[in-house]
Symmetry: C2
Subunit: 576 residues, 2 copies
């Protein structure tokens, strides 16, 4: 049937016009929020269909689909279950090409509902209408900017595709993804999946080059054999992340009642997923964590990890999580320990995890990962407390401001004037002339080191070289340089953007760190996974995402490694 | 030695004056951020001690502690390790009563450092000086508003006490706690714990009536026998939550290098913790989750849990987490199913987890938990998607506003005027006259039900009764009523506080839900644990906290239940 799934499902994901059967002005019905969702996103013609209302939110409404003058590619259903079959007949007559049935009361309620569902299916088949649902929350297609959701959800375009057999988990993942800065190319709440099956969506996502990572929430399958067959073909091309509950008896019973699916033996699923190279996760949070990992990191070539931490206890927790997951917190060679001896105070940990033990030397901390990444025995680096730099630099700057309040005005002016001498240097950072740019970046880092009280010029030189390369390859963006310029130009506590000096410095440090991490990844083609200092919520900035704990970072790295092992096993050791 | 630990450690936690040995104006030294931390919090006399600087941040500095004219209760050390012993001699001579040694370079660096540490200890013992550290981040005492931190941290007063053998994990927990709205009565980063031991702090916290929950991050113990002895005496009185890594070999090695401690056999610890009734957690996030559970929930009387969820898939994940942890997702009696049949549409799950399957009836969803809580076979309730109501009501109100933009002006005015008729009613909600208040609350709920399109007055009546009781017992606060008044008085889209109507409704709904949950807990003395809809960061509002997933809620309930089991076993089945 699915000889060409891309063509087959095209009317669903790229409709040229939409009819909404059950659109209404009554704010207490799902039909109200659904038409609103359509109107807020879709730019093609929308035809509300309602037996009683003539105008819906300013759009002319029609009594029946067959009354609509133009062609209808997609029909959205929010009417009660018992009226869906008749309306579907109208759609067949009208030549509608696809549908989404949000309405509930089908297979999930028992044999009566199943009968109704079969009837709707056979009518749709007659007219060659492929449909999503019934008993679903709707779907999102970025390519036609179409959100047909029964409830208001925040979603943006991106490289993820997600099919969910639970509208609730689906909505939560979409909203949480939005808040983390992620985007979706497709999202489908598939409900009872009477027509298009979970494996059809996965096959479709697998063939769509816009999709980089596939995610699925699955409660049970109608055709396990075909599912395995499809997933096996997709995993060599892109990662498939699966959340599948049903490990316990009550969960299985709840699944039966929720989606009408049979949970099946969990152990069987577990073995099958592993064999197919699918990645099984434990909860929605982890699903997004891993997806971000695949979107932002290269594949680790092996199990050896090096950890650098701003404090011992964090390193301990992260090392434990890595080991428990089967990663190897690798022993450092003597040569590396000697090199790190040169940049850290004698009290540093002298082993992996690398812990400078409270050293305030920011430059050393930014240089150390290079000594780890360049080792053949290190496949990936977890760089901890990344976000902490900005947190503490922020608080530190507040303290400095308070100190300045106690200084004589001429002292403050002197300080600010001293900064302004760097303006011509900073401007050269943007120069297309490589030599000029290189010299400017080096001077910039010298000034930063001076500002941080660091005198060892050998270290500063090493950092400069990485930043010169970052600038050359576009990892050190213009806006980072602009931050420094604004800072140098600031008269008093605020720059021309209205940000305080502390805020500008923060923004600059984030930019600098991002540039460095991006540059390390580019140069060494190894994952560099960073963590924040506390559990604060974070967003994807550019290509960079900060996990909120060493444990989460370790889980991500573990899944990336397991997927790479799978690719090697099947002879597809490529980078994604 | 610790015959009266409260008296013994009093000078540390309630000093009348503080000397800071190593205070400096040099912003690149920890001594700068430490003196700033002291000056930002402590209101008693602060004496900076520095051999070279005369004035530090506007305070007169002294060359030596013995030069200080007044009495010194506490000495804070941030000078290099090799100078600590001499300065400690000065402190003994001066009659200083307590100290915190932030300086690193002692036992954690090896035998040389250990020798230095022993020397400092014996000098302090001579002068009866009890001290925190060395090699620590400092500490916080709410009773004297004293934060002696080497880095800027956000902390507020509260009912938690926390001792951490890792400054890093400690700081992260304190900051994350602050962001979640939690407060600390005491927080100690104990470092190498040369003098005051981890078990001394726990004993001290145990005896302090201001402390409700004790938390500890432990890498290794100097005296395991005494530790067990102390914890055994504290757990019957208040919960002790312990984070103890060291399950793996590399983690144990990292611990040795970090705090100089021996991790010991993890299995031995695990058994010992269980026997003592201490609660062992996996990571800092869970530590705070459980602490909040103990602060805000009553003890569950048994293992039977009922779950109510706004969507099937969420219920599935939560039920699975409960069962995996050993809780019992209890079967509902036929009587309860019949009662819920009356308020939910036929498609509801008809089992535990209770899932109304997309029903929009807000009142029914708020009544259903009563049917569960009143069952003798239900010991606790997990109420899912609590925060989701506000998320979706917010988005829904935005949609309504957009709809109003398309309405004729007179229609909008009509709508707003209709709201204003309720002003006199709402004002009576605050009346001290019970009959007046009761009648007003009932009318208020009637109007809300009307607003939500609910016609079944029996349900509305049941909800009214709970809210009348909530009002009577102070759970429905005045500001919730004020929100409604502001809404009714609003001319146009904004109220007098400048909030939009959607924002006011949100605030009102949060207040109403909080009042209901508080009232359920008050009436049934059973835990009612709520969850948000997505992973958004949440704060403690009043007594109420929303967990971000069913899994986290289940973990909290599990630990509460285990602790209750322990109390029953030792014959101390009290409520905390």
């Amino acid at each position: 049937m699915n000889t060409d799934i891309l063509k087959e499902l095209d009317p669903l994901f790229n409709p040229q016009s939409v009819a909404h059967i059950g659109a209404t002005n009554n704010t207490n019905k799902w039909g109200f929020s659904t038409i609103t969702s359509l109107m807020q996103t879709y730019r093609g013609p929308i035809y509300p269909v309602n037996g009683h209302e003539d105008w819906i939110q300013g759009l002319k409404a029609y009594k029946k689909v067959t009354d609509i003058p133009g062609q209808v590619d997609l029909a959205v259903f929010t009417i009660p279950a018992e009226r869906v079959a008749a309306a579907m007949e109208d759609c067949v007559q009208k030549g509608v090409r696809s549908a989404v049935i949000i309405s509930a009361g089908f297979a999930e309620v028992g044999p009566e509902g199943k009968k109704l569902q079969d009837e709707v299916l056979s009518i749709a088949r007659k007219g060659n209408i492929r449909f999503i649902g019934p008993n679903c929350m709707g779907y999102w297609s970025a390519s036609s900017s179409l959100a047909a959701f029964m409830m208001p959800l925040l979603v943006r375009d991106g490289q993820l595709a997600f099919v969910s057999q639970g509208g609730n988990v689906g909505a939560a993942v979409v909203v949480a993804g939005y808040e983390r800065g992620l985007g979706f190319h497709r999202y489908v709440s598939c409900g009872c999946a009477a027509d298009v099956q979970i494996e059809d969506y996965i096959e479709y996502f697998g063939k769509d080059p816009q999709v980089k990572v596939i995610m699925a929430y699955i409660e049970g399958l109608n055709d396990g054999v075909r599912f395995m067959d499809v997933v096996k073909k997709v995993t060599p091309i892109k990662p498939v992340i699966i959340l599948k509950p049903g490990k316990t008896e009550v969960a299985a019973r709840a699944i039966k009642s929720h989606s009408g699916a049979l949970a099946g033996s969990d152990a069987v699923y577990d073995v099958a997923f592993k064999k197919m190279g699918a990645i099984r996760v434990e909860d929605p949070e982890e699903m997004l964590d891993i997806a971000i990992g695949f979107l932002t990191q290269p594949m680790p070539r092996g199990h050896n990890v090096a950890i650098i931490t701003p404090g011992g206890s964090y390193g301990v927790l992260c090392a434990q999580a890595c080991e428990e997951g089967g990663l190897n917190v690798v022993k450092l060679p003597d040569k590396t320990i000697e090199e790190l001896d040169k940049i850290f105070p004698p009290r540093w940990s002298r082993q992996n995890p690398v812990d400078p033990a409270g050293d305030r030397n920011f430059v050393a901390y930014m240089i150390a990962p290079l000594r780890l990444l360049e080792l053949d025995t290190v496949d990936s680096v977890i760089f901890m407390g990344f976000g902490g730099f900005t947190l503490f630099s922020n608080l530190l700057m507040q303290q400095r401001s308070q100190q300045e309040e106690k200084m004589k005005p001429e002292q403050v002016t002197q300080r600010i004037e001293a900064m302004r001498v760097i303006i011509p240097i900073i401007e050269d950072v943007k120069s297309p002339d490589f030599n000029k740019m290189q010299s400017a970046v080096r001077q910039l880092i010298n000034m930063l080191a001076l500002f941080m009280g660091i005198q060892d010029l050998a270290q500063v030189g090493a950092l400069s070289d990485v930043l010169v390369e970052a600038r050359r390859s576009g990892n050190l963006k213009d806006d980072v340089v602009d931050d420094i310029l604004e800072l140098a130009n600031a008269k008093g506590q605020r720059g021309e953007s209205g940000r305080t000096r502390a805020e500008i410095i923060n923004s600059f440090i984030i930019g600098l760190l991002n540039a460095l991490v991006d540059q390390w990844i580019d140069s060494y083609k190894k994952p560099v996974i960073t963590t924040t200092f506390t559990e604060e919520q974070v967003k994807l900035i550019g290509d960079h995402y900060d996990y909120t704990s060493g444990k989460r970072a370790a889980r991500v790295l573990l899944h990336l490694t397991t997927y790479h092992d799978f690719l090697v096993k099947i002879g597809k050791d490529h980078r994604i």
